[in-house]
């Protein structure tokens, strides 16, 4: 990522699929029938439907922002990427230490939205149009 770019990080809700740790993949990936899609469905997971709401949010955000803004979907488990990315984005935008600390502590929440290292939403994601407005506002600050 170049220094001039802006970035939105969307933290996924917990997925219904396997975390796949330690040399083991997701059974949905393992047993997808020929020509089929992954067997994961909202019913497979108590939060499964959240994935589809989140997908709508992602679609709206990606389509509603200019090409110069990167939009990344990150699994909340992926701290090895997420934490350095938050630090890098916040430092680049000159965020205060307090903002950075808040983003680091709460930025791994499923459903969190971060704009250039600043947390703008956590918990239940806002509706896509509202989220887009909030993101645009944060980008222009």
């Amino acid at each position: 990522m170049t220094g001039a770019r802006q970035r939105v990080l969307l933290v996924r809700p917990w997925r219904g699929g396997h975390p796949g740790g330690c040399c083991a993949g997701d059974p949905a990936d393992l047993l997808t029938p020929p020509g089929g899609r992954a067997t994961r469905r909202p019913a497979d997971h108590p939060a499964g439907s959240e994935q589809f709401d989140f997908a709508a949010l992602y679609s709206a955000v990606r389509a509603g922002l200019p090409a110069t803004v990167a939009v990344e979907v990150v699994d909340p488990r992926n701290t090895v990427f997420l934490l350095p990315a938050i630090v890098r984005d916040a430092r680049r935008r000159g965020r205060s230490w307090r903002t950075l600390a808040r983003s680091l502590v709460t930025g791994t929440a499923p459903g969190a939205i971060l704009v250039d290292g600043e947390l703008i939403s956590r918990g239940e994601p806002p509706p896509p149009t509202q989220a887009l407005t909030q993101i645009r506002r944060a980008l222009s600050r």
Binding site: A24, D29, L30, P34, G36, A47, Y58, L104
Partner: protein
């Protein structure tokens, strides 16, 4: 020799492998096209198919493939000397694992992110999918049996680890409940979980738990067997729980532990300046398994692992933003696993003993080496941790907990995967009752590896473990062989030179077959009438793989010569469309989305056929 010099040299070789060989693979063998529309864009639904930055994806991919296996194999393989073990890890990582993991990802991306089993059917033959399922069935059976024995041995050897290991279960459940119910950030609770776990390590260190008396009263041959039964009982229950309740938070805690353990190894070596006391090449006693072929099946994960093709061709392939990112994600993931194996070799050749005589006593023969390998790794890590000021005995409990946590998570997932495989095979055989009965399928998934793990033999020296590990290695290499066959055929069909793929395939399959034949003779001579048929079945699968690969490669060569090669990439319909449009937005999860700049023209009607003016930005590139 100072261990740090070895680490630096190997890391330099890995860096060169990534810089030069992976570039050769990307350009000349796989012919990566930065303009190719990946499934993540073509079928973008925001759920499974999401174009993802390569650094994000690397984090996901690496934590999905790293685990206990690249620790155990190298810890045994040092029996032949640290030189051969490390040479296989380095050469395997650069020329086999990198090719395999990277290639699986590329081929999957070119075939609508399908898994390797389906790709085997597409690229080789329909029979190959059945072969794949059977290989995976045996692989999972052996993984679960092997890791149950590993955990059992460690809990007997390090009774201080019992309390933290079992405390990790309620801690993980509490974290899972908390973060799921309250939608809270996972980082702080999981770090608290790690801290609580380390507090429990201190408690366990002072309150060790031994089951020798109970095992005796139950008439079990050794306390390890009781732990194995307890572990399988736990995994049977755990495999029926929702993943968010136990498996995900536990895995989350483990991902922290992975990086803590890696830091302890490399920083501990740097601070302590430990020297390697193991011999470069060990004079093994007569009657030991020979270095050829057994080294190459003893170190599977860490040199090449068939299991990685499942991860590469699964979630990772669905999220690849650009085809060219496969080099960073696939090849570098293999390098990460190789680095973990390097840490294991250093731990058991430098950390575990201060003198050559001490080391010789630990690796006096193969049975002692394989039975004590994981314990040697634990003691090696403890020595590195003590360089950082941690009390040695406490550090051994810490290291044992790391290994047991990894192994237990693999078993949690492995039993669950095995249940799916049992149901899938039952479906193929039209055994409807078994295919639809979760409890029965789960029971089979547990009972078969449990029976293997309880096989008598070798006493405390772990003869059974050593044998099971070698069988696991052969089966894992078979899975890799199947994936490499698929990749080789695909490369041939693209009219490119497949030598880089055929090389590890041509090395791996004979080594695996040779090892299976030697083991079969050994089992028959020893009257091992459970292991001998198992070995024979795996040998048949290996020969079947050779035949399938030979048929399809010969046919493809002939077609290439005659100019009748079919198109290299699948042209079948892709995945089903995603979910219905969201009432909240009117936008479906697969609604029209912009096409990334520079990507090829998409099929009409696909998300990528959207307005090209509203393009995604090119993927960010901060990699240095």
């Amino acid at each position: 020799m100072p261990a740090i010099v070895v680490i630096a040299a190997v890391m330099a070789l890995f860096a060169m492998g990534y810089r030069y060989y992976s570039r050769y693979l990307a350009q000349r063998v796989y012919g990566l096209d930065p303009g190719y529309v990946t499934p993540a864009h073509r079928y973008r639904d925001g759920v499974d198919f999401v174009p993802t930055n390569k650094h994000v994806l690397f984090g996901h991919h690496f934590t999905s493939i790293a685990g206990a296996a690249p620790i155990v194999g190298p810890a045994i393989a040092v029996f032949w000397g640290w030189g051969p073990a490390l040479a296989w890890i380095v050469l395997g990582t650069i020329f086999a694992a990198g090719v395999h993991d990277f290639g699986s990802l590329v081929v999957s991306v070119r075939h609508r992110a399908r898994n390797i089993g389906t790709l085997a059917a597409d690229v080789i033959s329909r029979r190959a999918r059945t072969l794949f399922l059977l290989i995976i069935f045996f692989l999972l059976t052996l993984v679960n049996a092997v890791f149950a024995v590993v955990i059992g041995n460690l809990l007997v050897s390090y009774p201080g680890a019992v309390i933290p290991i079992f405390a990790q279960i309620p801690i993980a459940i509490a974290i899972g409940q908390y973060i799921y119910r309250t939608r809270s950030p996972a980082l702080v609770p999981s770090i608290i979980g790690v801290i609580l776990l380390y507090v429990m390590i201190w408690v366990g260190h002072h309150v060790p738990v031994e089951l020798t008396g109970l095992a005796d009263s139950l008439g079990l041959a050794q306390p390890r067997d009781l732990w194995v039964i307890i572990i399988f009982t736990y995994t049977f229950i755990a495999s029926r729980l929702p993943v968010w309740l136990l498996l995900q938070p536990r895995d989350y805690i483990n991902s922290h532990q992975l990086f803590i353990a890696l830091a302890v190894i490399f920083v501990g070596v740097l601070v302590g300046m430990d020297r390697i006391v193991a011999p470069l090449v060990n004079e093994v006693p007569d009657g030991s398994p020979s270095i050829f072929p057994f080294l190459f099946i003893t170190v599977a994960c860490g040199a090449i692992s068939g299991f990685h093709s499942l991860v590469s061709s699964g979630t990772t392939a669905k999220q690849l933003d650009r085809e060219t990112d496969a080099r960073h994600v696939g090849y570098l993931g293999a390098v990460g696993e190789g680095s973990l194996a390097l840490g294991a070799v250093v731990a058991v050749s430098a950390g575990v003993a201060a003198t050559r005589a001490e080391w010789d006593a630990l690796y006096v023969d193969h049975a002692t080496a394989s039975g004590g390998a994981v314990g040697n790794f634990v003691n090696g890590i403890a020595a590195f941790a003590s360089n950082l000021g941690i009390e040695f005995q406490l550090a051994t409990v810490f290291a044992a907990v790391v290994v047991v946590s990894f192994a237990a998570t693999t078993m949690d997932t492995g039993i669950r995967l095995q249940r799916y495989i049992v149901q899938e095979i039952a479906e193929l055989l039209r055994w409807r009752r078994l295919a639809r009965n979760l409890t029965l399928a789960g029971a089979i998934a547990v009972v078969v590896p449990l029976a293997l793990a309880l096989l008598p033999g070798g006493g405390d020296a772990g003869y059974t473990f050593g044998v099971l590990w070698r069988l696991f290695g052969t089966t894992n290499q078979l899975t890799a062989g199947l994936a490499l066959s698929v990749i080789a055929v695909w490369v041939l069909r693209r009219r490119r030179n497949p030598i880089a793929v055929l090389l590890p395939l041509a090395f791996l399959v004979p080594m695996t077959t040779w090892a299976l034949i030697l083991q079969l003779r050994e089992f028959v001579e020893a009257g091992e009438w459970v292991l001998a048929p198992l070995d024979a079945i795996i040998l048949v699968l290996a020969l079947w793989l050779v035949v399938e690969a030979a048929i399809v490669l010969t046919r493809t060569y002939r077609q290439r010569r005659d100019g009748t090669l079919p198109e290299p990439d699948s042209a079948e319909p892709g995945p089903e469309p995603g979910p219905e449009p969201s009432p909240a937005t009117g936008a479906g999860a697969t609604g029209a989305l912009p096409r990334p700049r520079g990507h090829a023209e998409a099929e009409p009607g696909t998300p990528d056929a959207a307005d090209p003016e509203r393009a995604d930005p090119p993927p960010p590139d901060t990699h240095t």
